[in-house]
């Protein structure tokens, strides 16, 4: 078993608190993504799990055993780095063989030239060779084994780095933004490959990224971190549809969620800008709230209809399948973004008056501090004001 338990881990650098008591349980065989903006402490947490950095407080256990006092080598974890961190003066083969050589062979057997005459070294070398070639074949890099990292493309280096991590069958794979240095097309392709690889190996993956689309597409669960704290740990689906914090809602999803200030108007309604929305907030009348509305819950329509929000079209992003209409609304600094079918893209004239209808069932309510306010299932009723 190879579950990873992070228990109230804190880390302080000189005068910065990088991690503030983070607790997280990663199940055996799970693909867990640590998601957050740069500087949120996610990479620090990963390095603490690897043993490359020591935590200030708290403990880490892997496979039920406390590993706080073990050096990285003894933790049976492998890591893939953003820069790949392949040894530049070794071939791909030597890069991949090194972790096995260091683990399986004695110092005497490892000696250059002389080592091959030490008892047992030939058999060990053959075993290592077989392992390296097997992993290389599974990653389709057998033909690159004799090359140096400088002679490889970004994607090939990425595979070689994965190979070096896979070759010793570690309990846990730690990945620190491994796709960030690839171009956009290759990145999308590698996402699928990584998810496949995870299913094939059945090992525990802890994956660090600042890219919410990577987190959403590959993970079993996502842990969203901000300012050294864990905001929410959930499956991609519930993270997107049921965020516990406005910062999570804003970080996950593209385009960014629309945030509209409002006040609880009655037991069943919230006043947002000049519209009245049928949301039953579990909060006293008069409470100031913020409404988080995903663009797909908003539909652009005629200015005269029963629209919740009214404004003028500022910009239309046509992606082919969908189009996103940016609507400048009085009282809001940023335009509201509403989604429409891509075939409607030409309907919206820049600068013309437009209304936006809203599906009240899918509105997320947050209090002034950004915490989620539960909404009772609202009557799907929309009413315009004035």
């Amino acid at each position: 078993m190879s579950e990873v338990v992070i228990d109230r881990v804190s880390k302080s650098f000189a005068d910065v608190r990088a991690l503030r008591g983070v607790s997280l349980g990663v199940r055996d065989g799970e693909f867990m993504t640590l998601l957050g903006p740069s500087g949120c402490g996610k990479s620090t947490l990963l390095r603490i799990v690897a043993g490359l950095e020591a935590q200030t407080a708290g403990s880490v256990s892997i496979g039920g055993e406390n590993v706080d006092h073990r050096v990285p080598k003894e933790r049976d974890v492998a890591m893939v780095f953003q820069s790949y961190a392949l040894y530049p003066y070794m071939t791909v083969y030597e890069n991949m063989a090194l972790p096995l050589v260091m683990r399986r062979m004695t110092p005497a057997q490892r000696l250059p030239l002389v080592g091959r005459f030490v008892r047992g070294s030939a058999a060990l070398r053959r075993g290592i060779d077989a392992n390296v070639r097997e992993v290389a074949a599974s990653l389709a890099i057998e033909t690159l084994l004799a090359r140096k990292p400088a002679q490889l493309s970004g994607g090939q280096r990425q595979r070689a780095a994965l190979g070096r991590a896979m070759v010793r069958h570690p309990k846990v794979f730690l990945m620190d933004e491994p796709l960030s240095n690839l171009d956009a097309k290759l990145r999308t392709q590698m996402r699928t490959e990584l998810a496949d690889l995870h299913r094939r190996l059945g090992a525990t993956f802890i994956y660090v990224t600042h890219d919410q689309s990577e987190a959403m597409t590959m993970s079993d669960r996502v842990a969203v971190m901000m300012d050294g704290e864990l905001l929410q740990v959930a499956t991609p689906t519930s993270l997107y549809n049921d965020p516990s914090d406005l910062r999570v809602a804003e970080f996950v999803g593209s385009p960014k969620i629309n945030v509209v200030p409002g006040v609880v108007a009655s037991e069943r309604t919230v006043r947002a800008l000049d519209g009245l929305v049928a949301v039953a907030a579990e909060a006293p009348v008069g409470t100031r709230v913020r409404l988080g509305i995903r663009s797909e819950s908003l539909t652009p329509e005629g200015a005269d209809g029963a629209a919740t929000f009214r404004g003028r079209t500022r910009h239309v992003e046509n992606l082919g399948s969908d189009c996103y209409v940016h609507v400048a609304v009085d009282g809001l600094d940023v335009p509201i973004v509403a989604r429409a079918d891509g075939r409607r893209a030409d309907e919206f004239g820049i600068g013309s008056a437009i209304g936006v209808a809203c599906d009240p069932d899918r509105i997320l309510l947050f209090d002034d501090a950004g915490k989620r306010i539960p909404a009772r299932s609202a009557v799907a009723r929309l009413r315009s004001h004035g």
Binding site: P72, A85, Y87, P88, M102, D176
Partner: protein
């Protein structure tokens, strides 16, 4: 190219050629003199090539009157020993200062920088006294030990190691390499250009060193080349400049040859083209 461009190009090359001539003239004269018989050396007129070749006699004397080969061997042994030990000390020190985190690291590095500011001649007398107390005067050890810790080497290697990404070291730790293995198997191969240029600085400085051997060496059989040439001048040659210049040529030649062979690596090291991931 326009005319002012051509004019400037010519001017620039004239200046550079003049500079090169000033630098090279003493060497050319040294080589020319080593081929001349005594009466031509003291003749009133200046000629580059000798009218009467005296090279065999001069070089013959340089090799026979003093143990020139012995001096050269001493030089090779001493500079090689110094450089090997300098690497042994400087590389782990530089790694610690560049990549390990420990209390007082910055203070130690600052002290190292202070070390760079102290001229080699300042600690000469204390070092001499220490070697005398240790009974090591007039040995190879006296020529080697004072230079084993090269502050310059530590500084140079530390700067280069700084440019190597931490992730490489993290990967090595996860792969099971010890800190020493990281230093010698990961950092040193990556820092080859820096090591080569440090090697050139070190070898040139210690091959040419005259001051320190003069202080600590009495026996002729331990003398490195520059000291050997000096013995030659004082006792054997008198006013016989031909063999003396032949000796000087012999002493200088190995460095020139080594430079020509390593020129490409040397310039690589000077420009410090590091590794790009």
């Amino acid at each position: 190219m326009s005319r002012p461009g051509v004019a400037f190009g010519v001017f620039r090359h004239v200046v550079l050629l003049a500079g090169a001539a000033v630098m090279l003239a003493p060497f050319v004269w040294m080589v020319a003199t080593s081929f001349k018989p005594p009466h031509e050396i003291f003749a009133g007129e200046l000629t580059l090539l000798p009218r009467q070749w005296h090279a065999v006699e001069n070089y013959g004397q340089a090799f026979t009157k003093v143990p020139m080969l012995r001096y050269l061997a001493n030089g090779v042994f001493v500079t090689a020993a110094i450089f090997a030990l300098q690497i042994l000390v400087a590389v782990p020190c530089a790694y610690a200062l560049a990549k390990l985190e420990f209390r007082g690291r910055e203070t130690i590095f600052t002290l190292t920088l202070f070390g760079l500011l102290i001229p080699a001649h300042v600690p000469a007398i204390p070092l001499y006294v220490m070697l005398w107390k240790a009974g090591l005067l007039n040995t190879y050890a006296a020529l080697v030990i004072p230079f084993v810790i090269s502050v310059f080497g530590i500084f140079l290697m530390r700067q280069f190691f700084k440019s190597i990404p931490d992730e490489l070291i993290h990967a090595a730790r996860l792969d099971g390499l010890s800190e020493f293995a990281i230093v010698w198997r990961i950092m040193v191969p990556a820092a080859m250009p820096a090591l080569v240029s440090f090697g050139i600085f070190s070898v040139v400085a210690h091959w040419n060193d005259y001051f320190w051997p003069l202080l600590v060496i009495n026996s002729r059989e331990l003398a490195p080349p520059p000291l050997g040439v000096a013995y030659f001048r004082n006792e054997e040659a008198g006013h016989d400049f031909g063999p003396l210049m032949a000796g000087a040529v012999i002493v200088t030649a190995p460095l020139v040859v080594a430079f020509l062979l390593a020129q490409r690596r040397f310039i690589e090291g000077m420009t410090m083209t590091g590794l790009k991931s």
